[in-house]
Symmetry: C2
């Protein structure tokens, strides 16, 4: 495979942002930043056999997800994704058309957000495919939804439903066998392979004076712990309010673990004031964006995150439960 | 190794740029871009056993070079490097202290340029280390040194000396055995492991109304071909003017191939007008920055790049010679 041919074949024919001055084809990309905005930049890497396996993910799926997880980080800052760069370490067994398919998977999502591919690098590697995507976005100055912005009495919310991606992965790995033939397993698998970044909800949150946000890459428990730590508060969530797919419990008795610790849902979780919650809920309803109140922010206690059930309270660590001492 | 510990241990204690609003520790980094500048962004990946081998490169060397090759891309745009993000795919055999050493190698160079580490990702991989660095820089609006800016009658120049890095690699791989014990092989090896990006010369070039620039990653012949193609001109260089180390020819009869096609020197090559060349030469002399005139830009002919010796002229392809038909 000739790298120059490949670069030519993946170079976009259209540019969405007029602020791109030089895209692919020089030493680096150049763009002009606007006044009154903050630039957002993030990078995430997916590795073959760690984050995906070739026997169940197509090149398009891999490309799609590699970009999606980065867009999700921008969404979790309340920002608009604008540009992306792709760095690939490719084993020799990959064909040129498979690599093109991977870029097509990214492009499918990029078109949705009017994002421009502005650079990257392509190198060879001996064994496993490594895909690193850098995304640049922007947010109005002072409006970023930082982890450190939660305050006592805030409402805690989560978008969409949680646990579906972990269920999909478990199905793909053959670890879960649905107990009923009437469960649509394809749905869960799709949620794992093609997560939908929640840019619109992030944008709604950034319109408030203050909102904290995280995207769910490592599991709800982990993300809420990060918000609680960064904000020096405690977060109390209600076990009965967690939004999960109505078929999730039919798949495996481990469904609650998927919801709390599974990760890779790429939904958003965060906090806003009580007054802003009413606005956010209404705006999301109007746009048919699913969002659910799951708890409250409290003054800091010994536990960062507390899960309340009908009868008990327990500390929710990043990766597991912990009963109170 | 705990990723959270690692992130904590590599999080910089000082910030050079006040425009960094959020560095490591949220979903993405945030910074405020200034008016009147263009942002530059580039990404490069180094892979174990493709770009370096662990038996001759230390973790510091690998970190240093991974950042250096990206700074070099910013230099080749005439820009100032400002921020970097690091994405690592790490095999389990690597220890936490080796990973810290890799970041220290980057930090050594970052300090020199007052660059801030603002984000990244750390994932595991089965086999080979993959290091991807994203660098963000800036250049005054309209002053970037693009490949497409060469014009007939421009002077063609190169900084430092070429071929030394390829010689160092050949020594490291045991392919070259110096014919004289008086040759300082360590020098060439150092040039391969720790290339020095030429940011100062890039900045001088960006002060002119127009300059074309490329950094020498793939070899002088390849970089000049890119400038000639992008600018629709031909470039004529003089075989006798190529700056090489005085000991290079003592190492191997292949020294001329190293100089023309070896690559990884991370010197700059480019073109400026005759009048600007006099200024550039003088400014470089004052700052003890080595720079050499190696030829001229001509109106476009059939050959993109022509190498003239005393007796012959030949076409210099990206990866080899071609005698005129």
């Amino acid at each position: 495979m000739d790298e120059f041919d490949l670069i030519h074949s993946i170079t976009p024919r259209t540019i969405h942002h007029f602020s791109v001055d030089v895209g692919i084809g020089d030493d680096a990309a150049l763009y002009t930043a606007k006044h009154g905005v903050q630039e957002i930049v993030c990078v995430d890497t997916l590795v073959e056999d760690v984050h995906f396996k070739l026997h169940y993910s197509s090149p398009e799926d891999i490309g799609y997800k590699a970009l999606a997880v980065n867009i999700s980080d921008v969404a979790a800052m309340g920002g608009i994704p604008k540009f992306y760069l792709v760095s690939l370490a490719i084993p020799s067994k990959w064909t040129k058309s498979e690599i093109k398919e991977m870029y097509e998977g990214m492009n499918e999502l990029a078109k949705l957000y009017h994002m421009d591919l502005i650079g990257g690098d392509t190198v060879s590697t001996a064994d496993k495919l490594v895909v690193t995507v850098t995304v640049i976005g922007e947010v109005e100055k002072g409006q970023a939804c930082l982890r450190s912005l939660a305050k006592p009495n805030d409402i805690v919310f989560v978008t969409g439903e949680i646990g579906s991606s972990a269920a999909g992965l478990s199905l793909l790995l053959g670890e879960t066998h649905p107990q009923s033939a009437f469960v649509e397993t394809d749905y869960f698998i799709h949620r794992h392979k093609r997560p939908e970044p929640r840019v619109s909800v992030g944008r709604l949150c950034s319109s408030f004076k203050r909102a904290s946000l995280n995207d769910i890459s490592d599991g709800l428990a982990s993300e809420l712990n990060e918000i609680a730590e960064a904000s020096c508060v405690s977060i109390e969530i209600d076990d009965g309010m967690l939004p999960v797919h109505s078929d999730l419990h039919k798949l495996d008795s481990a469904w609650k673990e998927w919801a709390l610790f599974g990760g890779e849902d790429f939904e958003l979780t965060g906090t806003v004031s009580g007054a802003d919650w009413e606005v956010l809920k209404q705006e999301c309803e109007m746009r048919q964006l699913p969002i659910t109140k799951i708890g409250h922010v409290r003054e800091k206690t010994e536990s960062n995150v507390i899960l309340k059930t009908d009868k008990t309270s327990m500390t929710l660590e990043k990766k597991g439960y912990n009963h109170f001492k």
